[in-house]
Symmetry: C2
Subunit: 357 residues, 2 copies
C-alpha cells in the first residue's frame, strides 16, 4: 500500500526552508516510500532541494508567497491563511492532495487554521495537542492536551483520553494503554470537579474502550514509565510539559558546570562520555519532536520551531506512522464503541455542552 503524501510547510520554523527541507530529506533517506508536497517559496525550496536529489524526485512543490509569522495572532493568521505556506499545506489535507501536514510555524495559528479548515471529527468537541515524552520504562508516554484548550470540561477530558489511547496503541503497540488523569493526588476526592467527573465516566467505560484506566496520576510520575497516556487540560499540560523540559535543561546545565569545574572533572567527563551521551540522547528534544493535533478530520503535526533537521525528520516519521496506522479512523471507531448509553454523560456533567448546544 502506498503511503499518502505528507504536506510540509517549508516556511515554518525558526530557520525556515533549509531545516525543513533537510529534515524531510533525512526522513526520506530512512523510508523511501515517503512522498512529499513541499509548500512555500518555490525559488527557495528548489535551491534547498539541490543537495537532495532523492527528496526532489519524490516531491512536488506548491508555490505560495505568504508566510504566517511567529507574531501573527490566530485571528490575523485565519484572515491571511489562504495565501500562506501553512494555510495551503493544511488545505492540501482537506482537499485530499496530502494525507497529513507538518509545520514548524506559530502554534496558535496552526491550531486555528487547522480547526477552521479541517473541522473536528464527529463526536469530538475540541481537538487536543499530544506529544510523546521519554520515560524510564520501555515506551514513551503520551501527554495531552498540551495547550490547545486553556479550560476543559469533563467531556473534553474523556475525549482526550480516547484520542490519547488510540495514539498510544499506534505508538507503543500496547492493546490496552494505561490511561490516567493528571491531578494533585491520587485519592478520588482530589482536584477539580471536572477531573472527578471525567474519572467517573472513564472508570465505567474503560473496558469497552480497550484501555486500562485507574484514576489519577501526579506530575512527578509522568516519566516513570508506568503510565502510557497522561490526560489533562491544555493549561496544566502546557505547564507540566514546560516544567519537564525546563528541568531537564536545568539539570543538564548543572552537570555541564560540574564537569567543567576542575581538570579532574573534565577528564572524568571525557572518559564517561558514552554515559553522558546516552543522557543527551534521551533529553534532546529533537528526539521527541512532533506534537500531533488529534481530533481533526486529518492529521496535523507541529514541529518545534527550534528543531534541527533530525528533529524535523522525527516529526515526519511520527506523521507517517499516524497515517499508516489510520489513527483518525481508529479514534472514530473508539468513539462509536463508547456510543449509546455509555457515552451520554451522567446528569450534571453535561452543563457546558448543553448550554453550547
Amino acid at each position: 500500500m502506498s503511503l499518502p503524501r505528507i504536506a510540509i510547510d517549508a516556511m515554518g520554523g525558526d530557520e525556515g526552508v533549509r531545516v525543513m527541507i533537510e529534515g524531510a530529506a533525512l526522513a526520506r533517506r530512512r523510508h523511501d516510500r515517503f512522498k512529499f508536497l513541499l509548500v512555500g517559496d518555490e525559488v527557495r525550496i528548489k535551491a534547498a532541494l539541490e543537495n537532495h536529489p532523492n527528496l526532489r524526485a519524490s516531491s512536488e512543490i506548491l508555490h505560495t508567497d505568504g508566510v504566517i509569522s511567529g507574531e501573527d495572532k490566530p485571528s490575523q493568521a485565519l484572515r491571511r491563511a489562504k495565501g500562506t505556506s501553512m494555510g495551503r499545506a493544511i488545505e492540501a489535507v482537506k482537499l485530499g492532495h496530502a494525507g497529513a501536514a507538518v509545520s514548524g510555524g506559530n502554534t496558535g495559528a496552526l491550531m486555528a487554521i487547522s480547526k477552521l479548515t479541517l473541522r473536528t471529527m464527529p463526536g469530538i468537541d475540541r481537538p487536543a495537542l499530544a506529544a510523546l515524552l521519554p520515560t524510564l520504562g520501555d515506551n514513551d508516554v503520551i501527554m495531552l492536551d498540551l495547550g490547545a484548550n486553556t479550560e476543559c470540561d469533563s467531556r473534553n477530558l474523556v475525549q482526550f483520553a480516547i484520542m490519547g489511547a488510540a495514539y498510544s496503541r499506534v505508538a507503543t503497540g500496547r492493546a490496552e494503554p494505561r490511561v490516567r488523569l493528571l491531578n494533585i493526588g491520587t485519592e478520588e476526592t482530589k482536584g477539580t470537579e471536572e477531573l472527578r467527573d471525567a474519572a467517573a465516566v472513564l472508570k465505567g467505560a474503560a473496558e469497552n474502550l480497550a484501555m486500562s484506566f485507574d484514576g489519577f496520576t501526579e506530575a512527578d510520575k509522568i516519566c516513570r514509565g508506568d503510565v502510557d497516556v497522561v490526560v489533562t487540560d491544555g493549561f496544566t499540560g502546557n505547564v507540566a510539559l514546560k516544567a519537564v523540559e525546563g528541568t531537564a535543561r536545568f539539570v543538564a546545565d548543572l552537570l555541564r558546570r560540574g564537569f567543567s569545574s576542575s581538570l579532574r572533572s573534565k577528564i572524568g567527563f571525557l572518559i564517561s562520555k558514552p554515559a553522558t551521551d546516552l543522557l543527551k540522547h534521551h533529553l534532546d528534544p529533537n528526539n521527541h519532536n512532533g506534537a500531533v493535533f488529534l481530533g481533526l478530520n486529518g492529521i496535523v503535526v507541529k514541529s518545534h520551531g527550534s528543531a534541527n533537521a533530525a528533529g524535523v525528520a522525527n516529526a515526519v516519521a511520527v506523521t507517517a506512522r499516524l497515517l499508516e496506522e489510520n489513527v483518525t479512523e481508529r479514534i472514530s471507531a473508539d468513539l462509536a464503541r463508547l456510543g449509546g448509553s455509555t457515552w451520554r454523560m451522567p446528569k450534571g456533567l453535561t452543563g457546558v455542552q448543553e448550554e453550547r448546544a
Copy 2:
C-alpha cells in the same frame, strides 16, 4: 534578641520521632540560639534525646497521646486535633508558647488545623504554601501556591504575590524581588481571566509594593534564575513542583544507568565524582526542605514526609529565618501599603469576594 521557641511535631514524618529529633539536634548544633518545644510521646522523645544532650538542654517536652496519620482526611484531623502532636504544636503558636511550628505530617491536615487554629491574617483571604527551589542563578526561587488552594481567583493571586515577595526579601535579601505569574505564554492575552486580571492589578501596584513585576513567566523558566517569585494557583503550582521534582529524579536515574552501563563509564564516574556530587547536592530535596504556609497569624512550616535529619534541620533553619525576620509583620505592612484605592480590585474582578462578603 532571643529567638522565640520553635514547636516541633515530633510524631510527624514517615520515620517519626527519631528523624525529627535528629533534625532538630542538627539545626541546634548549627545555631545555638535555637530553642524548641518538642510535642509528642514523651517516652519516645526522651529516648531519642539521649544522644543529643545539647538539644535536650534547650528543649521542653509537651506530651500528647494522639497522632494525625497520613490517611486522616482534613475533616477527621480537625475533629481529632486537640489531643495530637500536630494539633498541640500549632496551638502552642496560637497561645504564644512558641513562635512557629514545624511538622512532617499529613499536609492536608496541617493546612486545615493551621487555618482553623491560627486564622488568616487581616487582608488575606487564603493562606498559600510556598517553597524554595534551586536555580541556575544566585538565589533560590520561591513558588506559591503549591497546593493549599485548588482554585484561585485574581485577588488570591495578588495576595500570593505580596506574600511571596515578602518571603523572597527575607530569603534572598533582594529589596525588589522579581515577581511573575505562571502562565502558558508571556503575551498579555494568554491564559485565564484570573491571571490576566491579577497581572493588571500587580502592574499598577508593583512600585508601591517594592517588587519588580513584569507579567507572566512560563514553566520552563522557573529554575533559570531570572525570577525570584513564581505565583500560581495551588493546582498548577502542585503540578509544576512535582513535574520539576519528578524530572530531576528522572534525569538522575538516567545518568545512574549511563554510568553503570560499562566499565569505562564506571571509571569515568569515579573520576568525575566531584561533578556529580555537585549535581546531587543541588537536586537533593533535603537541601530545599521546608515549605511555608504564608498568610496565617503565625508561622507553620511543612517538612517533607520523607525528609532525612538534614532535611528536617533545613526546615528548622527556614523557620528560624522567617521568625527572625518577622515575615508575618512584613506581609501586614505590605498589605497596608497596598491599601486604600490601589487595593480595591477594578470592577468586575471582585466577583467571588463580593458574593462571599
